[in-house]
Amino acid sequence: MEIKKVATRESYGNALVELGKKHQDLVVLDADLAEATKTGMFKKVFPERHIDCGIAECNMIGIAAGIATTGKVPFASSFAMFAAGRAYEQVRNSVGYPHLNVKIAATHAGISVGEDGATHQCNEDIALMRTIPGMVVINPSDDVEAKAAVEAAYEHEGPVYLRFGRLAVPVINDRPDYHFEIGKGIVLRDGKDLCIVATGLCVSEALKAAEELSAEGIDAAVINIHTIKPIDTELLKKYAEKTGRIVTVEEHSVIGGLGGAVCEALSESCPVPVKRIGIQDCFGESGPALELIHKYGIDAEGIKAQIKEWMA
């Protein structure tokens, strides 16, 4: 059976339209990327509530902050490189410090941007955003989770950073008992030999890797950490105690992202060896997204190989 694939930026656009119908106070801002970030879907239905700021991301974040002070709920979108990178200080000082109710919804995160190459592949946004006090950081794994995250972000009072991807990824959470809650990790597979903690598009790859490892006699648990801040320390601790080995997998630098966050949480609660799989302190490059995911070792094959090597 063909697995359904949806890019989480597409899920974001759809979720915005649905939320826009329910909430008159929702305003969407973009910086000349509405077609790519998919806020254009919202613009088609609610043109009067969509503000295109032009190619000026720093100003867009400031405008979103100003709008939030008047009681409306702005979602400001650009590529992760520009929303979290270029406008970092605006997010920190105009949104984070006054703890304004601004949602920064960044698309085209990570190397799966593909052909545009390193200038547009942001592998540092999670690290940047999670250092800001009071900022919630969410990196959904698929269509179902992305839509739930957008709604949860709207309901949450305070700043939220949402990370979406360009590449269509498998839908893995389409089940009746799926429940999204900010800050709560989800156990997708139990296991006793090690625990793979993954986020974003790496969750489906981690699941695949765990299945293949199982056939080779390695029993790996898989946890989906969609919220990197606040991180679910309780769940991580439980699985660190249970398996004694943690592997983190992310489409982000291993410095400061999920790997960093998990190490921080466990070093204080249950120190166990942690292997960090992700972008190894380097820039990306141009190429088709799937090829890059393979080359940088964050597909199922790469995850499996690195785990086996680590455990050998």
């Binding site: 720093c58 400031g62 902050a65 000082n93 105009s94 006054p98």
Partner: protein, 285 residues
């Protein structure tokens, strides 16, 4: 308030600036003193605000984009009754709500956190477009430094405001001609400031003497009549205005007076106050 009352109020605000910065042993007196007539006009004449209800939804908004002039902003808010004047002496002290730069979360009457130059102005633009979206009638004012407008974000915000015809928005540039490293003409000159804002589709008003309350009054009255475009008031001011040894001195951008200098500064302001009292007697006020 009549002109004389506004002048007296401005002088009281200047005393508040000197007292606050002296007590803090740090802060920025120069640009606060050059902006004093602007604060005075905004908070005592122009803006619809209520110290008893600082968050009332229909209030006019003010963003101090040149956030380092906080001592002047705080002194004006205290003079207007948003918080006790004696609290000005806690400026920049550990645990005080009067932070070095404006903090909307803790200071009554502050509409936006600011201080990193170039950022406040974007928030003001956001407030103005938000009013347009929901057809609210409040107006938005933002005060910038002439050095601050070297920041690129100011022009991103100006481009947006001009394009969206935000006639509920007024930029005021405190053109005191000095920035930390020297005269703005010797650092990275932003002149001609008026022509730049004109090119960004602003209605521009040049105020020859931005420390003359009557000229400030005329400029803000003109701004109210402007339709279909934002206004930029370029106020030519004197840095350190009112304190003889600070006037026109770049060194007083971000330095606190010592005890002796404090006494001298307060004596200058007392003298100005006494002259205003004489004036009031002459007019039978």
């Amino acid at each position: 308030m009549n002109t004389l009352e506004l002048k007296r109020t401005a002088n009281e605000i200047r005393k508040g600036i000197i007292e606050g910065v002296h007590a803090a042993k740090a802060g920025h007196p120069g640009g606060a003193l050059s902006s004093t007539e602007i604060f005075t006009w905004l908070y005592f004449q122009e803006m619809n605000v209520d110290p008893a209800d600082p968050k009332k939804p229909d209030r006019d908004r003010f963003v101090l984009s040149k956030g380092h002039s906080a001592p002047g902003y705080y002194a004006a808010l205290a003079e207007r009754g948003f918080f006790p004047k004696e609290d000005l002496l806690t400026l920049r002290h550990t645990g005080s709500y009067l932070q070095g730069h404006p903090d909307m979360k803790h200071i009554p009457g502050v509409d936006m956190t600011s201080g990193s130059l170039g950022q406040g102005v974007s928030a003001a633009v956001g407030m103005a477009i938000s009013a347009k979206l929901s057809k609210d009638s409040y107006r938005v004012y933002t005060l910038l430094g002439d050095g601050e407008i070297e920041e690129g974000q100011v022009w991103e915000a100006a481009m947006f405001a001009g394009y969206h015809k935000l006639d509920n928005l007024v930029f005021i540039v405190d053109n005191n001609n000095l920035q930390i490293d020297g005269p703005i003409t010797e650092v990275c000159s932003p002149y001609p400031i008026d022509k730049k804002f004109e090119a960004f589709n602003f209605h521009v008003i040049n105020v020859e003497d931005g420390n003359d309350i009557e000229q400030i009054a005329a400029a803000f009255k003109e701004a109210r009549e402007v339709k279909g475009m934002p206004t930029a008031i370029i106020a030519h001011t004197l840095k350190g205005k009112g304190v003889s040894f600070m006037e026109g001195q770049v060194g007083w951008h971000g330095k606190a007076p010592n005890d002796e200098q404090y006494g001298q500064a307060m004596a200058d302001l007392d003298r100005i106050g006494a002259e205003l009292e004489k004036e009031s007697g002459a007019y039978g006020d």
